[in-house]
Symmetry: C3
Subunit: 434 residues, 3 copies
Amino acid sequence: MKKSLATYFDRLWPITRSLSGDGNRESLQILSEIIDLKITEVPSGSSCFDWEVPPEWNIKAAWIKDSQGRIIVDMAENNLHILGYSEGFKGEMSFDELKPHLYTLPEQPKLIPYMTSYYKRRWGFCLSHEQYLKLDQTETYEIFIDASLDENGSMTVGEAIIEGQSKKEILLSTYICHPSMANNELSGPLVTAFLYKELKKQKSLKYTYRFLFAPETIGALYNLSIHGAHWKDNLQAGFVVNCVGDSGDFTYKKSRTENSLTDRATTLVLKQTESDYEILDFAPLGSDERQYCSPGFNLPVGSLMRTKHNTYPEYHTSADNKDFISFEAMQDSVQKYLDIIQVIEWNAFYINTLPYGEPQLGKRGLYPTLSQKGERAFVDAMMWVLNLSDGNHDLIAISERSKIPISTLIPVVKKLLEKNILKSHENFKDNNFS
Amino acid sequence: MKKSLATYFDRLWPITRSLSGDGNRESLQILSEIIDLKITEVPSGSSCFDWEVPPEWNIKAAWIKDSQGRIIVDMAENNLHILGYSEGFKGEMSFDELKPHLYTLPEQPKLIPYMTSYYKRRWGFCLSHEQYLKLDQTETYEIFIDASLDENGSMTVGEAIIEGQSKKEILLSTYICHPSMANNELSGPLVTAFLYKELKKQKSLKYTYRFLFAPETIGALYNLSIHGAHWKDNLQAGFVVNCVGDSGDFTYKKSRTENSLTDRATTLVLKQTESDYEILDFAPLGSDERQYCSPGFNLPVGSLMRTKHNTYPEYHTSADNKDFISFEAMQDSVQKYLDIIQVIEWNAFYINTLPYGEPQLGKRGLYPTLSQKGERAFVDAMMWVLNLSDGNHDLIAISERSKIPISTLIPVVKKLLEKNILKSHENFKDNNFS
Amino acid sequence: MKKSLATYFDRLWPITRSLSGDGNRESLQILSEIIDLKITEVPSGSSCFDWEVPPEWNIKAAWIKDSQGRIIVDMAENNLHILGYSEGFKGEMSFDELKPHLYTLPEQPKLIPYMTSYYKRRWGFCLSHEQYLKLDQTETYEIFIDASLDENGSMTVGEAIIEGQSKKEILLSTYICHPSMANNELSGPLVTAFLYKELKKQKSLKYTYRFLFAPETIGALYNLSIHGAHWKDNLQAGFVVNCVGDSGDFTYKKSRTENSLTDRATTLVLKQTESDYEILDFAPLGSDERQYCSPGFNLPVGSLMRTKHNTYPEYHTSADNKDFISFEAMQDSVQKYLDIIQVIEWNAFYINTLPYGEPQLGKRGLYPTLSQKGERAFVDAMMWVLNLSDGNHDLIAISERSKIPISTLIPVVKKLLEKNILKSHENFKDNNFS
């Protein structure tokens, strides 16, 4: 998988993505080789609650030349150089006139910042502060931005579904609006696509899995406008997949209720499998969880990341590049999502069918016939599952209370279901407590 | 304010106050210059639940002379010398006969204790243990106590109201029964009167504020007999104001429910504004909170003090005098009460009127049009208020969960109300959880 | 009591007890001298939920001789030598044939293990690993086991009742199936019998006390099959009494709900009377609490032990003998159970009959008539009891919240009941929160 991740990374990297435009179309086309995406064009001007889909933005070229015709700043070299959603422009101007259109990071002088102006018409260039300081303030500059903002265009979004036995859903949502940055954000779409590929191999899934690829904020709002009502009743768990490509420890940011199935399953898996990790309380700041967890929806959507956005210096700069990430870490991210999904799939309120006293396990070949001192992990795990399978404890709660890893409990559950000492309470009881 | 506090302190200090009597009338008269008090005379013998208002006590003089006519102990020198509610007496007696009428503090031998015998008829003198040890045990002493206990008298109480938009009430209760002591208790009536004066300046208040000046215990019981039924439905928050004059750190003793609005607002303000402070659990020991928080009423009444009664050695002795207190601290106490009242006034269950996704703040001029890294405290505070204004979180809960000071959140609420993105849930929803 | 405990210990010690058989009958007969036991024979083959009462096992002799007729292993010497529930056998065999029938503890080479094979037919001998290593591997051995397994036999159980004012019950359950071991388990039956004897002396008990003596697991299942339905509605508290004979600190293992009256009373008493003790969370591992706390019953049954079974090296070996225990500790165990029972008896939701303000305690002679600084433990305890006797706090909760020992509160309750300021909420309100 590592090699394949790297290959796709290299193909997707140079494309200029944004809220809309051909770069997004091309990126989704490439991802379609991994995940069976249904692609939708959402017309500019479409309403999504308090918002509207913006005009479609396309850009072919953008540069600044000095009076001798030398290219000083060129989007062809790094697509972060252009302020996202810049309008087209062509003209000459002095340094002083140009200055308000130039954006730098004085505190990180070697790095190009990533900036956008989605909802206010502007044009501008982003460059390293070092480069900016070298600009001749007496020069006259030639500016060229070959960009279009089309009110009759559209925003492109992709979706894939793996049908399960239930229409209850698990959401994997990632965003495709970032140009050439690696952790935030090519890692999200790549991990999501490969997660689809792995999950698709599994024979039978309890839940239906929905994978969404859309620009941040307006894409999430669009998807909420389509699926929000269904999700309020049917979403069991969901993740905003982003910042999953670096080799830092896992970070999980909880959903708004802070005790959703998403939160409980993820916290349990990290606790039982990782020595270092961080659990963050919900905050209405960050990425698309801001929309999914808005008070009108309050969906069980959290975010399993590695190093969290906005906490590492490379964030939203040209330094968030291939050097910053690790394809091994990305593969490991896919696996961690799979582990959590296994817990979500197996979590249920099981019922002990012989709840009066202990079942006699010996006659079913499940208990040692000879009493003796010593270890008996499988028997102990059976005892815990049987004792707490009363309709009030789901499997996660049993793992928490017994302190037995859920990976040990799942085979116990399988065995007890097979022996009919355990049954499912309801097939698809809503697992969220909130 | 400091100077004015000192002036009133000096005028009130020498007056002999008790459960009843002219000293109390005179004290309330002086306080009326600051606060618009309605004064009520409650006849002796009036029933207040299991209690009766005692006879009115007045005392003109009390002394002990030795056989040579030298005054040994004189109430004119310090009104703590007379045991509170002493009956009148005139006569001569040996030291041995006098001894059971003398009260001292052997462990604080330089101090005169403050003692009373309200409900059992006695007479007695309090004096320092050092003075007691110097008494000639072979002497014959002359005793004179010019005191009256009038069954047809009355107990004097004062009340002031600041009307708000709602009949829901905030109570400020202080007691006026202590003779010449400074922290416990001239500080309470002074801080309460000046708090009235400051609050009166505010243009529009949501709640109605009731200020009560009455003797401890029987005064609170009387007020409960009049207002108790109204308060059970309408009291939002309340404070027993006492021990607020020394320069120690603030101490807050919680109301009986321990999560009343009083408790939550006070705890929040202390946490967010003070580096050192103490929060005490409720206990049915102490001052008038014993009555307000009796199980039949269980009112949301706490007590914001500085150094708590009965924890400092000067408590209930002649050492609780002007040297022990600070008028700067007293002024600061007034301000802290005002800060808490501001929180109580602004606390509400607000409702986000655009709860599906985030409102587009940019088009309302509330969001930066240019994405960039860095601090954005006001925007973050807006996000928190909008996200949690779901009818389940009041503003205090939002401050607690977001860890954003409530003083930062209040201007945000004002702005969002003005933009109609926020509205009040109900004007005067009862804020107590209990 | 110490001496009497020792005498009974010595008489009971040599008897071979098991799930059934004459040893159990003889043991119950001896215990009947202390406790008024009603003895029941439960026929082999009787159903108890998923289980059946096994055939009755009796054994007269069991030994291994070498070819020279020397006895190598003899049950007459220590009844742990025989594998519990061994079937009869007579024959000669080589060491290699004998080997699978020999059980040792290689890690505790000096000790004979205690082992059983209740539900699978086997025969075997337990011996120390040192003895095992000395066996001549070229020898031919003669084996003799004079044992019977009678399908038409019965299991013997004992029960005693102390009737209280209410049919609500407190259960004391102990097991009688262990042969010659001291802490686990002669201490449980002995402590239970002497606890009966002490409790029987008390004049008037609120609750009915049921004492059960039965073999582990199948005995508890039998008793649940008889009393389970009654207990679901009526059991207030219960204890599995075992491992109460050594001089280690007390260990309390909570019932399944972890906040039953049993848990709350025991935790409170240990906290307020012991400096070192341990509280264990419930686990469905251990002794008869596995049955009482199965999900279909979920009874408030915990276990107050000293050193917990399976945590000391002597457990289930020949080293759990008279040297390991202390009759003083056993007597102390009886007393601790009595202390907890006193709390259970006095715990109730009392009601303050004068809940509006404080009652005037002075006129009832319950309050000092003279105000003064200093200690007043009884008055403070009254204040707490009166304030919290609101129907929502039982006496345990009052002790927890006030931090006043319940042994101080009980006399306060008696006094206030006598003065009619307090009354019982309901005589026998179910005290379990679960």
